[in-house]
Subunit: 364 residues, 2 copies
């Protein structure tokens, strides 16, 4: 076995999910994530945790959803499983990223709605999402398979403790600040962050972080006003989307346009009342991610980028007692800030042209 | 998709497990059983059942068991899942039948022991074991992959209703009888079946039958005496075993020999106190299975064969209030009865040289 697979498993089990002896662990395995699953099983055995593996196949889900009449009942047994689980590790790795492309959105939504309590039970575990670098993901990134593996492990096999320390600097700045201002090509946005807590997303449940790789600091703005242009391309709902420009007033998107995929954005914003609100403001800080690969798990953490999400806000960012923006969607969109850009906290520049204020080459 | 895969799924879901709307179904998927899993998911969607898929990989199990220190705890989350499940469908399909060959028996046993309640919860569902015809199974049978598929579907895609009717004849004979006598080359065995109920194993939970394919009628003898020689070869615990000869007194094996694998038999008989008792007497009645493929799921149902098992007896065969032979093992061994053989119930021949008394060519 490629030694990097074992290292990935070790980071996932020990750093990310903090697995201990006696933990009841669910591992969700994509059809092409077998190798990583074997390495994770080995690590869980070493730790003395228990292990139940589930099989996560888009082809299977498609067949089920297509055949169903749409009157879904809750999967009571899955809920019982997750309510009894301590840890949930999702090892993504399909064989075709578009395996469910022809399932109607409504069917998908109805199934999600019936299984809301199942999802909540999963979020109540120490859950982590990661991916095994598969051929399908390499293809989506327009990369050779081995080239993609190098890229993915470059993002995943980090010194997370050192990254957490660096990201803590940004978190402290955001926690102390009242207003963010982002200026870049086609972008001038102000966001109120008074009373908000930023999440130091260091790829570990110990940091309220649930992705591996991670490497971002994010918060949930109380309000936002201005214009923002997202120049990092992406695939949303199976369709290419490029150069989305949002006009935001009082935290809500009041106008939008896009060079490509404008109707996809329209569909997302029309999902529900919360879908037009800015749910997240995030700063990518993982310099192991040096290029766009059309996979939000990686893209939103890319160094020299900032992202906003419309839709649901994360509770971890909110003051006690305040509930976040409710929405069925949470869609991240990304802009490159490596040139002609600056990020200010209360009028002080904290990042210019991608460089943070504590970094060499920062030109305040 | 090969239409036979869909037919297999339909028999499994409708005939075997009797799945209905609202059933919470667990589907266990082997790494190479993906195609069958997709067909089963489609069928479960049609029926309006819920679906949770687990991943059953020998390589994964090996990695876990090897790494563990052996002090196992129960998988509480798996138990919760199975206690909440109505149906459990196991779709076997590994990539290497010997994937766990180097895991010490003791490690395996300790893990099984810690998860006894998990297993019981599974047996309390409407459970069915089947296999997808994989390359690994074809190889074990010394057959080309497509040749093996034809063989497997010949065994699985039967008119189970008609088979159940035919097998009911044998069940009636056994239920009414007091003593079985089996005579063949190297075999003369008498077994008391007074008060026992035979199982008409018609590949459906409606018949107390949990295998697909099935096609056997079996009972749990109260006692047995004589000699029996098993001339169908098999692999047991990863080792070839040939021409096992048992001497049975009062239901217990008192002497044994084998042309090959004698020490494997010795190990099985020494497992525990119940391992030396005859737990099952079964009659293979699936004429779709016309050859030995070194897979007990198929072999023991082969037409023109009879089998005995040492170890655990099935409760369904026993009078109310009587508990069966307790043992951690249940090992079937098979003899060919197509020539120079007869099976008698209370002195009356019911099968001679493979022909049943109701069949053409039967020579009473």
């Amino acid at each position: 076995m490629d030694e990097r697979v074992r290292e990935h498993a070790a980071i996932l089990v020990d750093w990310s999910a903090r697995v201990e002896a006696g933990d009841d662990v669910v591992v969700s395995v994509g059809p092409d994530a077998h190798q990583l699953a074997v390495a994770v099983a080995e690590k869980l055995g070493e730790r003395g945790a228990t292990l139940l593996t589930t099989y996560d196949s888009g082809e299977l889900r498609r067949a089920y959803l297509h055949a169903h009449d749409g009157e879904f009942e809750e999967s009571g047994h899955e809920r019982a499983l997750l309510e009894a689980a301590d840890v949930y590790l999702s090892l993504g790795g399909g064989r075709n990223r578009s395996a469910t492309a022809d399932v109607p959105d409504e069917r998908r939504r109805d199934h999600r709605r019936a299984n809301r309590a199942v999802r909540e039970a999963r979020y109540d575990t120490r859950w982590i999402s990661t991916v095994h670098p598969t051929r399908a993901l390499a293809q989506a990134a327009n990369m050779a398979t081995e080239e993609y593996r190098e890229f993915a492990y470059g993002a995943i096999l980090r010194d997370w403790e050192a990254m957490a320390e660096e990201m803590a600097r940004m978190k402290r700045l955001l926690d102390a600040g009242s207003e963010l201002r982002l200026v870049s090509a086609g972008t001038d946005l102000r966001a109120s962050i008074e009373g908000r807590s930023a999440v130091n997303s260091a790829a570990s449940v110990a940091y309220d972080s649930h992705n591996l790789p991670s490497g971002e600091v994010f918060t949930a703005p109380a309000a936002a006003d201005g214009e923002v242009t997202f120049d990092v391309p992406m695939t949303l709902r199976g369709r290419p989307v490029r150069d989305v420009r949002l006009t935001v007033e009082d935290g809500e998107v009041v106008d939008f346009e896009a060079a490509e995929g404008e109707d996809v954005i329209a569909g997302i914003l029309d999902t529900d009342a919360g879908a037009r609100r800015i749910g997240e403001f995030g700063i990518g800080m993982n310099r192991g991610i040096d290029r766009y690969t059309d996979n939000v798990l990686f893209d939103e953490k890319m160094g020299d980028t900032v992202h906003l999400a419309v839709g649901r806000a994360y509770d971890a960012c909110l003051p006690d007692g305040e509930s976040g923006n409710e929405s069925a969607v949470h869609v991240d969109m990304i802009l490159d800030v490596s040139e002609a850009s600056r990020l200010e906290v209360d009028g002080e520049v904290v990042q210019r042209n991608g460089r943070f204020r504590w970094e060499e080459g920062f030109d305040g």
